[in-house]
């Protein structure tokens, strides 16, 4: 069924609301099998077919093949090496680029990719073109691919203006719960409790296991995770608040996350929405792109939701050895120079406990999970 094609509601910023599934249908209606095909290779065309479609003679078709070939765009052989910018180029782009490269050569000692760049490139490209061993895991032709930016909850002051985010690819036919399970947030790994008196007994349960509730908010509907008995409707408070007075929010609804796929949603591209878990850990979500799947994309269903970009966070190191990532944080610590103070496991024990394991000095100790743990 054709609706109007998605278009801007706020120019260059975000679109009007539309049904994701309808977009897929619209495109599939307008395109033919060759456009949608995910085959790795396509056969070359016969001149007769070209002639038929263009309404010209077969000889013309053959001539076209020659006249329009890519070879017509390549000039003499002397520019074979793409690393070398030709000396006498008439292109402004190249003149500017050459200057920039020369400037870099003056200032940089070693010109190679740093580990952040290597990681970023790997993440972006590692799944390209991957096909599954099992054909049932192959993504279907005409499937929609959504690109989502999931922002980190603001933890550091320095991130106030440019919030760091992860970029995830999901398929239109995937359930919301699949995305929810794939979101890795440091707040899920928190261990609650003060353990200065019993450092060896930090409990096994992390927050993720204890507080399973979560919801997505898209266009007036809260999609709550209700798969487990412990899950609660976190959106209830908001809905009650909205309904208590005429606040102008219209009809907010609450439904089950596990009953919906991305194709079922109505949403705007480029508009901020919300993911909330752990009761108060909130992530902004923006859908930046929706398009048809292509044969060069990752075609293994099992790899989706696919993380293609994440923000590199520097881990906090132990105050003592400055080598290992901090695993403990102390407050009101008579033995520490700062409050709060971070320690790795070894240094923490060496400083705060004697050989028999008795607590030395006064302090409060909490297990610490660094946000950079996902690097």
């Amino acid at each position: 069924a054709a609706g109007a094609a998605p278009d801007y509601e706020a120019a260059e910023l975000y679109t009007r609301v539309f049904r994701v599934g309808a977009l897929g249908r619209c495109w599939r209606q307008r395109l033919g099998p060759p456009d949608l095909s995910l085959a790795a290779e396509v056969a070359a065309e016969a001149d007769a077919d070209v002639a038929a479609e263009l309404g010209c003679a077969v000889e013309t078709a053959a001539e076209l093949r020659g006249v329009c070939s890519i070879d017509m765009l390549m000039s003499s052989d002397k520019e074979k090496d793409p690393d070398v910018i030709p000396e006498d180029s008439s292109l402004l782009t190249l003149r500017i680029r050459k200057k920039a490269l020369e400037k870099r050569e003056e200032t940089i000692i070693v010109d190679r990719a740093c580990r952040q760049e290597t990681l970023a490139y790997e993440m972006e490209s590692h799944a390209i073109g991957k096909r599954p061993d099992n054909p049932t895991d192959l993504v279907e032709e005409g499937e929609l691919l959504l690109t989502l930016n999931i922002f980190y909850p603001v933890i550091f002051q320095k991130h106030k203006d440019h919030k760091p985010y992860q970029t995830v690819l999901v398929l239109g036919s995937q359930k919301l719960t699949e995305l929810r399970d794939s979101i890795s947030c440091v707040s899920d790994l928190q261990i609650g409790g003060e353990f200065s008196s019993q450092p060896d007994q930090a409990p096994e349960h992390i927050s993720k296991d204890l507080y399973k509730s979560a919801f997505f908010y898209f266009e007036g509907i809260f999609y709550n995770d209700r798969r487990y008995p412990e899950c609660r409707d976190l959106s209830r408070t908001i809905i009650e608040w909205s309904e208590s007075h005429d606040r102008g929010y219209g009809n907010l609804q609450s439904v089950k996350m596990e009953d919906y796929t991305f194709n079922d949603l109505s949403l705007k591209i480029g508009f901020p929405y919300l993911f909330c878990h752990q009761g108060n850990c909130e992530h902004i979500i923006i859908i930046t792109d929706i398009r048809l799947i292509h044969h060069d994309d990752c075609l293994d269903r099992k790899l989706y939701p696919l993380l293609i970009k994440k923000h590199w966070l520097c881990t906090r190191k132990c105050f003592v050895c400055k080598m290992y990532t901090a695993r403990w944080v102390t407050n009101k610590d008579s033995l520490a120079p700062e409050d709060p103070c971070f320690f790795c496991d070894v240094c923490f024990r060496m400083l705060h406990y004697d050989v028999e394991g008795n607590k030395l000095g006064e302090f409060l100790a909490y297990p610490y999970v660094d946000p950079g743990i996902f690097n």
Binding site: T15, V50, M72, L73, T147, L292
Partner: protein
């Protein structure tokens, strides 16, 4: 995304040369491309991550010339440009050309036009791109990530590349004129029916000009002519005066018709070119260059313009059309 420095200039230079060649043949385009060794635009010691980003931005820029409001010849040039950039890019696998759903019908129409006009090379190239799956079929042309703080780039694309804006013609089409004529006739007949003398309406009922539809048609035609002249004038003036400021351009474009008017306008431009720009804090009260030539009839209602319609005057009226 920030733009690739120099790229817009290079693309516009190539498209401009193609426009001047006054043809839509790929052979000619390929010649111009080879002259400039355009395939080297991807060269330089660039690592893979950067190269991906660069290529995406390059294709995104070229793609913008492929859609309206650009003139037919520019759009064909853009198609060839996209073909060239897509085929000669260094990324593996290749970066794709994005096509939004809202633009697809227009592109289909364009392809059909090419086939109907027997521009086989252009049609063949579009077909080739499509068959080699060079496109991503998307919801929107660009990725949208709610960048409110980032300055939205005002890409001032060249005026010459655009088809003269056809707002008047798209509003007052032949169909509309025909319909208006019918309604007008019907109206006249109704007036006769309720008048004392059945052969003509009462004087008291004469509220609009009888030939108003004909006049409207004339005005529309004049507007079209004026636009075409304006384009020619603009191109001439550009060669001699190197206009870059749109304000000055506006003044120049106002003159049309006779040579004398042209000369007058040029003199005025020169003498007014010393306008002082208001300081930044008073930008909103920028000095406006008002034309001293008498106002036109374009902004006035049709029934008042008939007498002057033979000597159209340039206008800077921004009032909406009044219709009694």
């Amino acid at each position: 995304m920030s733009s690739v420095p120099g790229l817009q200039a290079d693309c516009e230079e190539l498209l401009g040369a193609f426009q001047e060649a006054d043809t839509v043949r790929f052979e000619r385009f390929a010649e111009l491309w080879r002259e400039r060794r355009f395939h080297t635009i991807f060269y330089g010691r660039i690592r893979a991550l950067e190269r991906n980003k660069l290529t995406k931005k390059t294709l995104e820029l070229a793609q913008q010339y492929f859609l309206p409001p650009y003139a037919f010849q520019i759009r064909v040039g853009a198609l060839y440009l996209l073909y060239g950039l897509y085929s000669t890019q260094l990324c593996q696998p290749k970066q794709k050309i994005r096509i939004a759903l809202k633009d697809w019908p227009e592109i289909q129409r364009f392809q059909q036009d090419l086939i109907d006009s027997q521009h086989y090379d252009a049609a063949y190239i579009f077909r080739t791109l499509r068959l080699s799956r060079a496109f991503h079929f998307t919801a929107m042309p660009k990725l949208l990530n709610y960048r409110t703080k980032k300055k939205i780039q005002e890409n001032e694309f060249k005026e010459e590349f655009k088809d003269p804006s056809n707002r008047v013609n798209s509003l007052i089409t032949n169909d509309v004129l025909e319909e208006l004529m019918n309604i007008h006739d019907h109206y006249q007949k109704m007036k006769c029916v309720i008048s004392a003398d059945k052969s003509q309406p009462d004087k008291a009922l004469s509220l609009i000009k009888d030939e108003f539809v004909v006049t409207l048609k004339d005005i529309t035609l004049e507007h079209q002519e004026w636009q075409q002249n304006r384009m020619k004038l603009f191109l001439n003036a550009k060669e001699t005066d190197e206009i870059s400021n749109k304000k000055e351009e506006g003044i120049l474009l106002e003159s049309e018709g006779s040579e004398r008017a042209n000369a007058l306008a040029r003199i005025k431009y020169r003498s007014y070119s010393a306008v002082v720009e208001a300081s930044k804090s008073r930008r909103h009260r920028q000095v406006k260059l008002e034309s001293s030539e008498s106002g036109s009839n374009y902004g006035k209602s049709p029934n008042r313009s008939k007498k002057n319609s033979r000597r159209p005057q340039p206008a800077r009226r921004r009032d909406s059309l009044e219709v009694k």
